[in-house]
Symmetry: C2
Subunit: 214 residues, 2 copies
């Protein structure tokens, strides 16, 4: 889900693919925990993650020693460690930029809170939307973006503006001090090296579906 | 993005992870084509895909022989082959089930058409939404779902109903003959083996962001 494939690759030593797999492991472990499963063998975890036990060990080895070779993993422990590694133990403040239908849908999405993502603000350029409230979130004027981000210590921007305004909105977010952007706009945005962009691509899953049902 | 990690794994011989990587290769090749790049070495493609040249060869080998060892790939040719493999050369008819904010946002999403996904219908249970029109798509009564799917030969359902109605809506889609579901609902749905579900998880990208900016 890296944003711009032609951009230079991440300079960190830990492969981006490892981080993506940690997110998958986390999701599997949460499902296991929800099913009151407390122990899992590395082979079973590998099967669920559609990878290999070796790959899992290698991915986790970047961050320390987890589990016992042969004996597998303790679900609550690995879950806690993955949350820590992924930075999910603190609160992240989020601004939604673009309060059209998608922005409104996101304001109503129930699972952000579960992961400590706090919707701090929502902004739009359209005066007809400003001051309206969606799921308890009042839309503010995009001209106040910089002030909002600084005062409320916002960390992440959800970019849901139309394609043609995406780059401009991203620039405004970065200018105001945002370090991470979740891009819902179906376009590529260019950002400096120190900003992390992830694109939510509705089409990736859809293309997998057409493969399987064709 | 497989839906239920605790469900039995896919019985097909081609790994699910290979299909996910084909989708990534396709996206990279489209970007290359948009930049008028006609040739790419397997090493460069591997770098862009955050994988290895060996992995790409292995993934493609399930479907035939592509490219020349050492010489790399011709972008338009590989692009065409990937589209064919992924089933993107025919039109897929889609119904949106749940025309709340997210359904409305999807009706307005410009890129589906580009990939031959045709929004055939939109249904909702809410009488206040039925007969309303969003981006040219008229909302129909969910009670007509079965008839709509059969008459318009709908292949895929976008599931955007609230969490508590997701399983029921999925069951209705399957009963009516749908073979693929793109699940936007933040919950796990259970489906028979012959139905393919992909879940759009807004949180996966978000978790990667928190790792990188923490």
């Amino acid at each position: 889900m890296a944003n711009n494939y032609l951009a230079k690759s991440n300079t960190s030593e830990i492969p981006s693919a490892t981080i993506s797999r940690l997110v998958i492991y986390l999701r599997i472990l949460e499902e296991l925990a929800n099913n009151d499963i407390r122990e899992i063998s590395s082979e079973k975890l590998a099967t669920l993650a559609q990878g290999s036990a070796f790959q899992i060990r290698k991915d986790l080895a970047y961050f320390g020693t987890f589990g016992t070779r042969g004996a597998g993993y303790t679900v609550p422990t690995l879950l806690r460690e993955l949350r820590r590694i992924l930075g999910l133990t603190r609160q992240w403040n989020v601004v939604i930029i673009g309060m059209g239908r998608l922005g409104q849908a996101l304001a109503d999405y129930p699972r952000f809170v579960h992961y400590n993502y706090h919707l701090s603000a929502a902004v739009d350029i359209n005066p007809e939307l400003v001051n309206k409230e969606f799921s308890g979130l009042k839309v503010e004027d995009i001209r106040d973006l910089s002030k909002i981000i600084k005062e409320r210590m916002v960390d992440i921007g959800f970019l849901t503006v139309p394609q043609k305004s995406a780059q401009e909105a991203a620039d405004a977010l970065i200018q105001a001090g945002i370090k991470g952007i979740l891009n819902f706009s179906p376009t590529i945005i260019t950002v400096p090296d120190n900003i992390h962009v992830e694109t939510v691509d509705f089409l990736a899953g859809l293309k997998r579906i057409s493969y399987y049902i064709k």
